[in-house]
Symmetry: D2
Subunit: 140 residues, 4 copies
């Protein structure tokens, strides 16, 4: 598959009804080799008890975009672990996420994510470790 | 407020419509000093592209139950950061979460969470750091 | 190799001069399938600017004991990543560490560590992810 | 204290005999507001069983330089927690570390660290959370 086709394939796979991310307002807007971006459309049900965007919604955005980045050169992956830093209250109608690799490996890929609000303030960051699936493992 | 009243207050605060967690099937079922438990009712929209429960849904469960544990002796908190380990595919109709403290501090509380499926298999674990809000900060 | 021989092999491999851990007072005292314990003998050069045990020394203890736990059923491993929570100031002449697995996998193992002081107070905890090396990869 | 004097004070505090970091070859080479850099001189006792630089040595470097960054605008701090990603085997005579803030807060500061070898290859990254000490707390 060409890089363009592969990127389209990733985007179509993720932006699909019944996915937890998609149903909660997360869409991946662009995937290219070594980079993925996406956004969370904040709705009335995105919030925590303080009225800010829930950390779970931010992590859903980060995990989804991060996984697209990990697979941006090809392959499939599952999330092995993550760390998130919730730096500032997340507010507004849209939260943006950019994911870039720290390492794209044969077995493990490590991706950093940066989440910003509409004023381009960084509201959260994270690091996701993905386990890359071989063709054989996908059959399981 | 008595411990019983405080626990009831936490549960009522979290199990409320329009919260991201509640709208996605997360409820906190019990809070007592130094412990909180809750569960995620898995629905058709809880999944990732592999058909397993999305890591974002698991983290939403963990964050919500963990925050109740951090506040179980009183006070309010916001999540400063977290780490999650997604150990095994999460499947089934219900995922359970138990949160216990590593430290309940005046400024920082650290809480560990364990997520299990209906067969009592641990599917994910995590560690959440909460920043405890003073009365003054809550006013901000 | 029998489990006993394998455990002896791990301990001998780690408790050896010129290792960073050993030269800094870290020894692994026992390894059995699914568990490893060790300790840090605190010396005049183990400290940070506050006179407490340096976080780097605690992490060295945790990484070393954690790695022995990850390999306790056989195999070799390298540390892929870790998280540490420094809960309380670490003082005294000895810091103890116990490591138990969250998951011992074919490719990834996740190990939790608990560090206690001589009064059995938990001073730090952590979670280490190890990448398990196959025979082929060890040759690289 | 002027920024220059404060930076000098930090460097002098850290680059001092009997500190765990200093005795293991770690020196902080420059601190300015919002940035700190340092290095690890790799010696015969810096290694793990594979002959690479031990993860504990890398974390010691990262923690030390990260703490200087957290205090680069003033104040004192203790490490609350960290995450490290060991991306590639660390070899050679010197490992370099640069620390920049994700957030410099009144109570919490979050600092990212990047560790590179002599060929400018990133061997490890990390995120450190520091609890900032008030004047009152320093007296404890």
């Amino acid at each position: 598959m060409s890089p363009e086709c592969h990127s389209d394939f990733i985007v179509r796979t993720v932006n699909t009804p019944h996915q937890f991310s998609f149903e909660n307002g997360v869409t991946v807007t662009d995937v290219s080799p070594g980079r993925a971006v996406g956004r969370l459309l904040v709705g009335p049900d995105s919030i925590n008890p303080y009225g800010n965007v829930h950390g779970g919604a931010l992590t859903t955005l980060a995990d989804t975009v991060g996984g697209c980045c990990a697979c941006s050169l090809g392959g499939n992956c599952v999330t092995a672990g993550c760390t998130m830093e919730y730096l500032r209250p997340a507010r507004g109608r849209t939260i943006f996420c950019e994911a870039t690799p720290k390492k794209l490996g044969r077995s493990l890929s490590v991706v950093q994510v940066t989440l910003t609000d509409e004023k381009n303030v960084v509201v959260a960051t994270g690091t996701f470790t993905f386990f890359m699936l071989s063709e054989e493992q996908k059959g399981n």
